[in-house]
């Protein structure tokens, strides 16, 4: 087994409900345990509002836990965010550099990858135009092309699997699957069980802010499905 990169013990995160005096807090995460080892591809499943995205932001180091402990080795954990820091009046090229820097790339790494970003985005001459002139599809293509260049030690993905028109969706999905298959450490949050089943080898099941079960993919899925069928889902 690979070394432990990230370890969460009894982690809880509380949010304030609204900006008012003496409002009460609610716990988006209550008690989560998680162990992530190098090379693992961990899928996180759970119903809506179970705290999956909050958990991802804790692993990324964006949110600090209000209780429990997070141990992170000397590794970079990056949430795959699209169009991070994009500025409308700047060219596609400048935005690629800016977004790449925000995503943790060094300047020289981005410069070295600009050609690949340009190529992958299929933007042609528009690459030098302000992105304010882009269609939303073009914007997403640029955003994805930058994000896929980022190579953190731990890649965190929250439902962004495929963007753009049908053709680019296929291409971006394939690029992402290729990235996940390269032996990187990945944490993937998704509603789509088949996606998790095909891309991950380990699964963490989260419910109401608590980790229910973490383990081998098939084992966790089996328990999850048993639970779904035994316990009727509460009506919203």
């Amino acid at each position: 087994m690979g070394e432990i990169l990230v370890e969460l013990r009894n982690v809880g995160v509380a949010f304030s409900a609204q900006r008012r005096m003496n409002d009460h807090r609610f716990w988006a995460l209550e008690d989560v345990d998680l162990t992530l080892r190098r090379g693992q591809r961990l899928g996180v499943i759970g119903r809506n509002g179970a705290g999956k995205s909050t958990l991802l932001r804790v692993i990324a180091g964006i949110l600090a836990p209000d209780r429990g402990t997070v141990k992170r080795g000397p590794v970079s954990c990056q949430l795959l965010s699209l169009a991070l820091g994009f500025v409308p009046h700047l060219s596609g090229r400048d935005n690629a550099v800016l977004s790449g820097l925000m995503l943790g790339l060094r300047r020289r790494d981005i410069t070295a990858r600009l050609a690949a970003i340009h190529e992958f985005s299929e933007l042609g001459d528009f690459f030098e135009q302000p992105i304010a002139a882009y269609s939303s599809g073009m914007m997403m293509r640029l955003a994805f092309s930058v994000a896929i260049q980022v190579e953190p030690d731990v890649l965190l993905i929250d439902e962004v699997m495929a963007v753009g028109d049908a053709e680019f969706q296929q291409k971006s999905g394939a690029a992402l699957r290729a990235r996940m298959g390269e032996g990187h450490t990945v944490v993937l949050v998704s509603h789509d069980e088949t996606q998790i089943a095909s891309l991950c080898d380990r699964v963490l099941w989260v419910e109401h802010g608590k980790s229910i079960l973490e383990g081998d993919r098939d084992e966790v899925f089996e328990a999850y499905h048993r639970d779904l069928h035994l316990v009727p889902t509460p009506k919203a």
Partner: protein, 253 residues
């Protein structure tokens, strides 16, 4: 990590300036036209309509207003920077101090354009350059540190208390009138003058006028004191931002 942050800050500053230039038709020209128009209004009011203040009043006013504009924009833009970037703060693990630093740097770049206009106006109105101009260097450092420090402190609070935005500009207006921006300390009667001279901004304004109008070196004791206050403000601001940093990603925009 640190080098990466420096690269991020520098490129963000470039991006900010570049984007601002692109937002209007005249772009870069506004950085000069805007203060020039403001100076013209002061000239009209003081020199033509009121005929007040004596021959040295207008240049001293222009120096005061130019420097204050720099300080105020750093304090306000820096002060709003974390709040207006909360969407980024929620998505990426960056030290939030990055945002006010970028705001202060880009306002400082813009200030140098405006300062060039001021210098030209001073030279043609009979206030030539002198060796004392070298005194501008420590003076500018003091101004930068002071504005950044106040900007950081405001930046730390605004995300948690957005209502502050409605008060800050008014407070800064009061600060301006108490800091010898629109009047000269030397024209104030004695007990009040000593009190006002405790204000680091007033000391800075005085030193700037001495350098630019009379070729006088700054009062080093006063400037050192002002710089120390500025340093303390900077350190305090950076500390408060770092201290409150865990709370920002949880805030709704």
């Amino acid at each position: 990590m640190r080098q990466h942050l420096i690269e991020l800050v520098l490129f963000s500053t470039y991006a900010e300036l570049r984007a601002e230039r692109a937002r209007s038709y005249l772009g870069l020209a506004w950085w000069v036209l805007d203060p020039a128009m403001q100076m013209a209004v002061w000239w009209l009011l003081i020199h033509v309509i009121l005929r007040a203040g004596g021959p040295d009043y207008l240049p001293s006013l222009l120096i005061g207003v130019t420097l204050w504009q720099w300080m105020k924009s750093c304090m306000i833009h820096g002060g709003y920077a974390i709040w207006s970037n909360l969407n980024l703060v929620r998505q990426v693990a960056l030290p939030p101090l990055v945002f006010p630093v970028v705001a202060v740097l880009s306002d400082t770049v813009k200030f140098f354009y405006i300062f060039a206009v001021l210098l030209v106006i001073l030279w043609v109105s009979g206030y030539p350059p002198s060796w004392a101009y070298f005194g501008l260097l420590p003076l500018f450092v003091a101004i930068l540190l002071l504005s950044a420090g106040v900007g950081f402190i405001i930046a730390a609070m605004v995300p948690l208390l957005p209502d502050l935005r409605f008060v800050i500009e008014q407070v800064l207006n009061v600060v301006m009138y108490l800091s010898g921006v629109v009047f000269m300390l030397s024209n104030i009667p004695s007990p009040l003058r000593e009190v006002l001279a405790l204000n680091p901004i007033a000391v800075i304004m005085d030193a700037a006028r001495g350098i630019l109008m009379h070729g006088l070196w700054p009062n080093w004791v006063g400037l050192t004191k002002a710089s120390l206050i500025a340093l303390v403000a900077c350190a305090l601001g950076a500390f408060v931002v770092a201290r409150l940093a865990p709370r920002y990603p949880k805030l709704a925009a």
